[in-house]
Each structure stands twice: as structure tokens, then as C-alpha cells.
């Protein structure tokens, strides 16, 4: 039940006034403002690079602002260290959970401030007891205080972070993209807890790119754009289009869906592919010129299936055919030679080499074909890289710029560019727009449409319903390593798909 939040006192709980943050050569925040009231969930929106993470780091004491003030209960607050932010009652939960896998739930909650007893020795008994209290307060029953963290799923780890925030009197909870890796069911469960905390009078700052979630949980919103304040208001009184316009400063076109590129010819045929632990009896056909979507909960085996198709892992049985010819890659190199490309989900660890230049990244899978032999040819490489960087409009100061210094969207462009350069016939995209802002997302979607128009066939693994519904021709729904159904996108609804993915149908 939704209780009306208590009337706010004359001061907002937290007020951010005119915060400026400068780094050498870059003005990350240019006089932003924000207000958080008790018993409210406030969404913070903005494209990547808009300054949201920087503000979070300032609020949690990791960075110090160059100028401007932060007030709590009307009084100025100094946040010179994580310790101080913690004591002030400000806690943050991040997208990538920041935790210690080998240690127990209890120790993760108390790390940095272990409870001590006699002689200053760590008091394990009290810590475990306190943790059990917190877990039951949150209604958590499927793990205990001494469970090693590595045994928990992403959703469960988020819950541990919430427990951690509660372990001392947090007044402000900052949630930075907490739902990015969660299934719909897990998101709903998390939101139950968030609403509970809100009703207890906490102020919650909810940062996300997913509009479904934003509209589901938040009361009001603030928008940042290019490091500056760009708008605020109450969510009930606005629309997604308006929010997007505030974020991007311009209208953003969405990908069209009509397609005339699909033919009946089978590009990739998979028959009864089996893995010992990850998937079973997988059969599907990718038609030429089609965009085939793979939807499912996190952990349903989609990426694992793609790894096997790409030659990273070996299935125990089953057959594959590429363009009618038998296809059983032992290594990624085999798959690439046959014309397959795989853009992995983890852009930073698997997709791009952050410490190498744009050019070196783009040319990497295609070195033999660019040089025609053993010897490197910088001229040809530059030409090659420029061709694909410009096709995708990568924003950088030169081809020599290190990929690690690019924005998330541009990094993804480099990764896609690298695979385009390998001139594949089939390209598999695994969560291609995860963690990317609206503007770059639309660009990637448009680009995927262009790909099939240039005679490529595309498989896209995605957990985002709007993306899957808007982009694909057919959808394969997977659950627990099995395919549940293959449906034509035009004839199906979001609800059907979700139900299949959750095992309700």
C-alpha cells in the first residue's frame, strides 16, 4: 500500500547547490542542483557523460567538489572521505556490486567497520546475529549471514547492499543503475523493498536508463545534461518523450520496424545443440537478412549458447550449419573465418582492449586480410580503421586515442566497428545497448537496421523488452537453458514474452 509520504520539513533532507567539479581539462559538473526530500524516490536522469556518476562520487565522499555546497537538514555538509559520507548517512548501491566474493554476507555488510568486542577483537557472534536481523527485516529467506557472497546472484547481491545500507542509519540511499542486470521479477522484488524504505522516511536517489523502472518507482525527477542541470519535476506530470528531450536536448528517432530484407534462405541452422550444464536441445534457424532476438531472464543461458556458436566453448552434441555447410568451430578463429562475428556483453573486458588505440582495436581480428601477409602495414591499417570509425561516427581526437578514454557509447561503436571490419555474414550482438544512454542507443539500433539492409543477418541477445520488440523479426524465448518458444515479433505481445521467460506459460 502506498502511504502518503510525510509532509516535508522546511528544509529538504539533502540539497545540492551549484556544484562544480573540474578535472584537468574537463568540467564534469557545471553548477548542478538537486533536492532530496524524506520519504521520496527521486530519479536522476541523463545521458552517459551527463555527470550523474560524478555527482554520486561527490555525495559519497570519493571526490570533492571544486565549488558549490551540499546541505543536509539545512546545514552545510563536508564529505571529504567515504567515512564521512557514511557517517552522514549517505550510502550508495552501484550497478556493479562492489563486494568481496570470498567473504560472507555478514562480513560484506560490516567490512570497514567490523564490530569489535573485548580487547578490540572482531566480534563474529554479534555480527552474524545483527546480519540475521537485517536479513529478516528485509524479508530475505534464501540465503544466510554466513553464505559466501560468490554464491549469490546479482539480484541477491543488491539485496545485501541494501542490507548494508540499513546496517547503520542510512538516511539517503543512492541507487546507481541497480536494475540493469535484473529480471523483471527481481526488479519487482527490489522495488517492494525500495518502497518500504521510502515509507520509513528515507530519501532515495534512483539513477537509471530504463524508463519502465523509472516510471514504476519514482515520485519526482531531475535531469542532467552535459554536466549541467536540465530540468526537474514530478513524474506523474511528464512523459517519456519529454524526459528524453530534456536529456538529449533534441528529438531522438526510434528505429523503424518494417523490413523487407528477410528471405527464406537459412543462414545459420542449429540442431539439438547440447552443453553439459548450460543449455539443452537448442534448435533454431537464422534466416538471411533477419534480426532474430533472444530474450530471457539473466542466467537463462543465452550468452552461453552464443559462446558455443562462436567457438569459445564446445557443445557435447548437436549440429550447426552455416549457409548450408556443416559448421563446428573449435575456436573463435574458426568461427570468424567462416563469417561469424560476436560482440560480447562485457564491452570492457571482452569486447575492447582499453589500453590500445582505436585503430589497433578495429584492425585486430582482420590483420591478416588487411596486410595480406606477415608484415604490418600502418597505412592500410589507418585507412581500414578510418573507414569503420567514420561509418559509426566514433567521437575521438584521433585514431590513436586509447579506447579506454572514450565514452561507453563510443567504446561500443569501436567494438561494433571492429567486427564490421571482419566482414561477417552473421553478427551476434549480446546486450549491445547495455549501460548506453538514449542517444547512442538509438544510433546503435539504426545501425543494426542498416546491417540487415547490407545483407547481414543478425542475432541480438537482449533483456530489454522495448529493444527486442522494436528491433527484431522473430524472438526466441529462453528459460533455464532451454528454448521455450520462437515467435514472430509482429504477432506477439510484451506480456506473452515475459510470461514465457518467467515460466508462467
Amino acid at each position: 500500500m502506498n502511504n502518503k509520504p510525510a509532509e516535508s520539513t522546511e528544509h529538504p533532507l539533502l540539497e545540492v547547490r551549484n556544484i562544480v567539479k573540474e578535472f584537468p581539462g574537463v568540467r564534469a559538473l557545471d553548477g548542478v542542483r538537486l533536492r532530496l526530500n524524506t520519504g521520496e524516490v527521486c530519479a536522476l536522469l541523463g545521458e552517459n557523460g551527463a555527470g550523474k556518476s560524478t555527482l554520486v562520487k561527490i555525495l559519497t565522499g570519493v571526490y570533492q567538489q571544486t565549488a558549490g555546497e551540499i546541505l543536509m537538514d539545512g546545514r552545510p555538509l563536508s564529505l571529504h572521505s567515504a567515512q564521512e559520507a557514511w557517517s552522514a548517512g549517505i550510502t550508495a548501491i552501484h550497478q556493479e556490486t562492489i563486494m568481496f566474493g570470498e567473504l560472507s554476507v555478514a562480513e560484506n555488510i560490516f567490512m570497514g567497520h567490523h564490530l569489535t568486542g573485548r580487547f578490540g577483537m572482531v566480534d563474529w557472534k554479534t555480527m552474524y546475529a545483527r546480519t540475521e536481523e537485517l536479513l529478516s527485516r528485509l524479508g530475505i529467506e534464501d540465503f544466510a549471514s554466513n553464505t559466501p557472497l560468490k554464491e549469490l546472484s546479482v539480484a541477491q547481491r543488491h539485496l545485501v547492499e541494501v542490507a548494508k545500507a540499513l546496517s547503520h542509519d542510512t538516511r539517503i540511499l543512492i541507487m546507481d543503475e541497480p536494475t540493469a542486470s535484473l529480471s523483471q521479477k527481481e526488479v519487482d522484488e527490489l522495488f517492494v523493498i525500495v518502497r518500504k524504505l521510502r515509507d520509513e522516511g528515507k530519501a532515495i536517489l534512483f539513477i537509471s536508463h530504463r524508463f519502465n523502472d523509472i516510471f514504476a518507482i519514482s515520485d519526482n525527477f531531475v535531469v542532467f545534461r552535459d554536466g549541467a542541470f536540465a530540468g526537474e519535476g514530478v513524474l506523474k506530470e511528464t512523459s517519456e518523450d519529454e524526459l528524453v528531450r530534456m536529456m538529449a536536448g533534441r528529438r531522438v528517432e526510434h528505429a523503424h520496424h518494417d523490413r523487407s530484407t528477410v528471405s527464406e534462405e537459412s543462414m545459420l541452422q542449429v540442431d539439438q545443440l547440447n552443453h553439459a550444464t548450460e543449455f539443452k536441445d537448442i534448435s533454431f534457424t537464422l534466416r538471411r537478412g533477419e534480426i532474430l532476438g533472444f530474450y530471457g531472464l539473466v542466467g537463462s543461458g543465452r550468452s552461453e549458447l552464443m559462446h558455443a556458436i562462436f567457438g569459445l566453448t564446445k557443445p557435447v552434441s548437436g549440429e550447426m550449419h552455416l549457409e548450408g555447410d556443416p559448421f563446428s568451430p573449435e575456436t573463435p578463429e574458426d568461427a570468424i573465418i567462416r563469417g561469424l562475428a560476436y560482440v560480447p556483453e562485457d564491452r570492457q573486458h571482452c569486447g575492447a582492449i582499453l589500453n590500445m588505440s582505436i585503430r589497433d582495436n578495429i584492425t585486430l581480428p582482420s590483420l591478416t586480410s588487411i596486410t595480406g601477409g606477415l608484415k604490418l602495414n600502418k597505412g592500410k591499417e589507418n585507412e581500414f580503421a578510418r573507414r569503420y570509425a567514420s561509418k559509426l561516427k566514433v567521437k575521438a581526437h584521433s585514431l590513436q586515442q586509447l579506447v579506454g578514454t572514450l565514452s561507453g557509447g563510443n567504446q561500443q561503436k569501436v567494438v561494433i566497428g571492429k567486427w564490421l571490419g571482419a566482414e561477417p555474414k552473421v553478427i551476434i550482438l549480446d546486450e549491445p545497448t547495455k549501460g548506453i544512454d538514449v542517444g547512442a542507443k538509438a544510433m546503435v539500433h539504426n545501425f543494426i537496421n542498416e546491417l540487415v539492409e547490407s545483407d547481414l543477418s543478425v542475432i541480438i541477445v537482449s533483456s530489454e523488452l522495448p529493444e527486442v520488440m522494436g528491433l527484431t523479426d522473430r524472438i526466441v524465448v529462453m528459460r533455464e537453458g532451454l528454448t521455450r518458444a520462437t515467435l514472430p515479433t509482429a504477432d506477439t505481445t510484451q506480456e506473452d514474452i515475459v510470461a514465457l521467460a518467467m515460466g508462467l506459460k
Partner: protein, 326 residues
């Protein structure tokens, strides 16, 4: 899982098990091996390795490595020996203090480069170990300090028996126990696990990584200083090349003890048991009639076996996504 089974599943339990089996197996072949004397000899022989393996465990836990420990032992030991030689009336505690102080300073130096300047520990180790070794030569002008040149009180202490065990063995046991307690019951110890497990996250939870690392390397140095005195006094000799290669034994003891080389996992108990195991191996060889020239190869095999077993335990055969039929 019943308690005995889960104990055997742990590296520590396995080591105790194998060491015991090995001990008794050798004992059957050669009954004199089974005496209290041998046990005392084994622990006495292992004491220094036990102490330094505990220290090395803390370093490895934080994703570092300290290869200067052997050079540190040698230099600190030489300092103690030289003091004993030139000023034989110096009280023993002062001499031990001098060795410990030397060790602490060397550890401090390491700490400055590693924790403050952020230079990778393996690189600092490589550079510093040659410097420290070289300093021994400079200090002693290349001369050895023999037993006759050392005061009696200096050399007698380690092997003096207090309660049936030699002082050396006693010190080894006490420090090992303290190390186990420290890693389990102090914030310092627990935070080391965090630093090794997820170094990027430590800032966010308010751990002062620099301070902790500083302490680890300095403490390791201090322990090496103590071991320096113990080594030189026990063997009644001090020269530039003592303890050559010992640093690798400490790492080996950790690996055998289940301490992950990637950091974040392992226990001090494991490292200590690993040290005991290695030491027992060395002691058993002559008893089994195997020439001492086999020692090196046997340690090498033990390390390789341990690391292969370690990795088996951590191998994931892919996620279990398919529902397992009951």
C-alpha cells in the same frame, strides 16, 4: 556435510592428514623417526619457515609478493652477528632488538616503494633483494662470522630447551598462533582479505589500503629481522649467501597451504601447515635414504602438485543453468 568431511575438504585438513600419514609411513620404515625428538627437530627446523610463511601469506593475500625476505634475514642476521662479534658483552635482547630493527627498516623501505609509490611488489622485490644482499657484503667486507666469533649467549638461545621444545620451536609456534589470531580477529586481518579480494572496492568501504599495505610489508620486514637473528644464531654462522633461495620456499609453503596466488583467499594456518609439510619432506628424505641432492627437485614437485590441486578446486565447469533432475 559432517564435520570430519568438511574438515577434510579444506586444504588445512588435507595437509594435516597427509603430513600425519607421511610421518607415520616414514615411521614404519624407520621407527626412530617417530620419536618426540624428531617432532621437536621438525618443528625447530620449520620454525623460521613457519614464521616467514605466515608473513608471506599476508603479502600474497593482498595480491603482492615479497621476495626480499631472504635477503632481509641474511642482512639482519649479519647485523646481529657483527654486533655480537665486536661487542660480545651486549645483552642478548639488545642484539635481537638490533636485528629486528634492521628488518623493520628494510620492510619499511619496501613499504614506501610499494604502498606509497605504488610500484608493483614483484618489481620492488627484485630490485631491493639484490640491494639488501649487496649490503651484507659491504657491511661484512665479505668476511664470514664464525661460531667462535659469536658470544655463547648468542648461539645458545635458539636451541635451549624450555618446556621440552627448543626456544626456536616455541617462538615459531607462538608467532604462528598470533598470526592466525590476527587474521581472524583483527580488523587489520579481515581488511587484508578485502584488499586482496577486490582492491577497487576498498576505497568505497573506507579501508585505508595504503596504511594496511604499509603495515604488512613493514611487519614482514620485522619478522624477517627476528628470523635473521634466529637463523644466524641457530646455525652459528653468518655470511652473505645465507638463506639464498629461502624466499621461494616461503611462497611454496603458501601455495602448498592453499593460499591463492591471485590474492583474496587462503589462511595463515594453511601457510604454516604448508611450511611444516615442506620441512617434514626435507627431514624425511635422509631418513628414507634419499640423498640430499634430491631435496630441490622434491620441493619443486611438491609445489607443482599443490598448484595443480589448488586450481582443480577452483575450476568451474561452466554455470549450472539447466535444472538438475532430483
Amino acid at each position: 556435510m559432517s564435520a570430519p568431511t568438511s574438515l577434510l575438504r579444506s586444504r588445512e585438513g588435507q595437509l594435516i592428514f597427509f603430513t600425519a600419514i607421511f610421518y607415520f609411513a616414514v615411521g614404519i620404515a624407520s621407527p626412530s623417526f617417530l620419536s618426540l625428538q624428531t617432532l621437536d627437530a621438525i618443528i625447530t627446523d620449520s620454525a623460521i619457515l613457519m614464521i616467514m610463511a605466515s608473513a608471506q601469506m599476508m603479502v600474497i593475500l593482498t595480491r603482492g609478493i615479497d621476495l626480499t625476505v631472504a635477503a632481509n634475514i641474511a642482512l639482519s642476521g649479519m647485523v646481529g652477528a657483527l654486533i655480537g662479534m665486536h661487542w660480545p658483552n651486549t645483552p642478548l635482547t639488545a642484539i635481537i632488538g638490533a636485528s629486528v630493527l634492521t628488518g623493520l627498516s628494510l620492510g619499511l623501505l619496501n613499504a614506501v616503494f610499494i604502498a606509497l609509490f605504488g610500484i608493483p611488489s614483484i618489481v620492488v622485490s627484485l630490485g631491493a633483494m639484490t640491494i639488501y644482499r649487496g649490503m651484507i657484503f659491504v657491511l661484512s667486507s665479505g668476511q664470514w662470522v664464525n661460531a667462535q666469533e659469536m658470544p655463547v649467549s648468542f648461539t645458545v638461545f635458539p636451541l635451549d630447551r624450555l618446556v621440552g621444545l627448543s626456544n626456536l620451536a616455541l617462538i615459531g609456534i607462538i608467532i604462528s598462533i598470533l598470526a592466525v589470531l590476527a587474521m581472524r580477529y583483527t580488523r587489520f586481518g579481515r581488511e587484508l582479505y578485502a584488499i586482496g579480494g577486490n582492491p577497487e572496492a576498498t576505497d568505497y568501504v573506507g579501508i585505508n589500503t595504503r596504511a594496511r599495505l604499509f603495515t604488512v610489508y613493514t611487519l614482514t620486514g620485522g619478522l624477517a629481522g627476528l628470523c635473521g637473528y634466529l637463523w644466524v644464531a641457530r646455525f652459528a654462522i653468518a655470511y652473505t649467501e645465507i638463506a639464498l633461495g629461502f624466499e621461494l620456499l616461503t611462497v611454496a609453503a603458501c601455495v602448498i597451504g592453499g593460499v591463492g596466488i591471485a590474492g583474496g583467499t587462503g589462511t595463515v594456518l594453511g601457510a604454516v601447515l604448508g611450511a611444516l609439510f615442506l620441512s617434514m619432506l626435507q627431514n624425511a628424505l635422509p631418513v628414507m635414504g634419499i640423498s640430499p641432492f634430491w631435496q630441490l627437485a622434491v620441493s619443486g614437485l611438491a609445489i607443482l602438485a599443490a598448484v595443480i590441486v589448488n586450481s582443480r578446486g577452483q575450476r568451474q565447469k561452466g554455470m549450472q543453468i539447466l535444472r538438475v533432475a532430483h
